[in-house]
Symmetry: C2
Subunit: 314 residues, 2 copies
């Protein structure tokens, strides 16, 4: 297959490039390096099946030749990033989605949209199944991300209904692993960086809010199946790890795995920070036979090792 | 003031043109006539304070000269219209909002966004205050409108927070009056047309779902105050009539006012049709001293008369 991946130099996008190349596909990657990094794909340069363009998908996109699959994964994804780039975030998930859907229509390509558990907002239903409509503040500071993702989901479904495009939506829950940015503000790289460097781990609130953390390899397996399997047009899937951990337990675990002398300190929680977020992955289990396989200990060990090497190298 | 009104040939937009001109302002109207009609503004042609351009706001917008106020009212607003034009609806409330906000930033103009009670979706809170986050299905057929409006609200707030633009959001509840399209699929023109022509009035479901109906002159008064008064930057206001009527009672009232021999028939309700929708207008009352003044009987009488004249003329 000939596959276009937007956000190819990002955390998830670059792992998707690796996976699709490993399976023998041809990959065209786009990224404007707003939050992605050339370091994440530099090992792929020279691979004859990989082409990369520095490109901002808020501009019109055209590619010569056939295209079988588009994975729209471009978008600042951490709160720190999308709060720093609120308007660009909204453009990527409106104009960027329009342009990539337009290309899918033109090429007759299948389309996979990278959505997020943030479409559920601060949910009153636990765990969240795909049928849950969410509880999002449309005018709060996080709405630049949440509402843009919801808009893109609606647009994806409109192209599916109106133009018959084979679309699939992945609602991605917290994912972690190698290639996250140290300073992207998300809890796992934050804690790991703090633990490795012996700084105090900063926990928002009392740390009793829970999150579920999916290791990147597990997530990529889910996205790969969702993208490759037949008969999933118009479907939405939660992809994430349903095992819950409190933020406080996560901090302790990372200190332990890193063998760190760090202490834990508590700070104010940001506005609209959700209390709980946990995927109901019944549908993914049943329909694409997927569930996460990597334990949190194993995933964190690999991630800590990667960060340690990177910090020493950098 | 020099005022730009998008959707100027629409139902609400054209009444806004009338009002701003009557108050001595200069009005520039844009409309692509997708759902608006030249008939709604033809009486203004020749007025030296009014200029009109047939224009699609999904394209880049630029105007020479100063601009004090932008009212972004372009968008298919009835379910029939936005279901017929799902993708264009989403473009008007993403690219159109981006372009008009960009123009507001360039000109230092105040910005009023025409949002909707549909951002509340199928609410579990009655009446809905501005602080209610809503319950919307992001992938349902109505999401092309609801999510686009929520996206535009989020984008409006992002421009307010990021660029300091003086923005105001009006969440407009059901409004009726002269210049609605006979065939726009909404309940008031539907029933009036059916009553005037002696056809059966078609009620969705058992007609026990309630709606609140605001007469156009009352709504325009609210929007005018919201747009003109100082110190409302970044604010959101519900504008609508809190008096509830069941759809069945509305049908009976219209038959009565029209002196019609029509009967009432019941049909299936569309997907995601909300059970109830009623504005909490406490904020508008308190902050801009606004509340609706026209009784449903008086408003319907004027609307029935207008439709009768139009149908005879047409």
């Amino acid at each position: 297959m000939r596959v276009l991946i937007t956000g190819a130099a990002g955390f998830i996008g670059s792992h998707l490039c690796d996976r699709f190349l490993r399976e023998g596909h041809e990959v065209i990657g786009l990224d404007n390096f707003l939050t992605g990094s050339p370091d994440n794909v530099s090992h792929l340069f020279g691979n004859p099946n990989f082409r990369f363009f520095k490109y901002d998908v808020t501009n019109f996109i055209y590619l010569e030749g056939e295209l079988d699959l588009i994975l729209h994964f471009a978008c600042p994804a951490s709160p720190v990033d999308y709060m720093n780039h609120p308007i660009h975030t909204m453009k990527v998930d409106s104009m960027g989605t329009l342009h990539t859907l337009g290309l899918a229509k033109l090429k007759g390509a299948r389309y996979v949209f990278a959505s997020t558990s943030e479409v559920y907002g601060n949910p009153e239903v636990h765990p969240q199944p795909e049928t849950y409509w969410g509880r999002v503040n449309p005018i709060g500071p996080r709405s630049v991300y949440d509402e843009a993702k919801r808009f893109s989901e609606a647009l994806t479904m409109a192209y599916h209904r109106e133009h018959g495009i084979d679309t699939r939506i992945a609602r991605i829950f917290n994912t972690y692993g190698p290639r996250m940015r140290v300073n992207d503000g998300r809890v796992v790289p934050n804690f790991i960086y703090q633990a490795i460097t012996g700084k105090p781990l900063t926990v928002y609130g009392d740390g009793s809010q829970t999150r579920s953390f999916c290791y990147i390899d597990d997530l990529v397996e889910g996205i790969y199946r969702l993208a490759i399997e037949e008969g999933l047009s118009g479907e939405v899937f939660n992809l994430g790890n349903p095992t819950e951990h409190t933020i406080l337990d996560l901090a302790k675990l990372i200190i332990d795995i890193a063998g760190s002398p760090s202490e834990i300190v508590f700070t104010d929680r940001p506005v609209d920070d959700p209390d709980r977020r946990k995927p109901d992955i019944t549908k993914a289990k049943k329909v694409i036979g997927w569930e996460p396989e990597t334990s949190i200990e194993e995933g964190l060990k690999r991630t800590v090792n990667w960060f340690r090497e990177k910090l020493v190298a950098g």
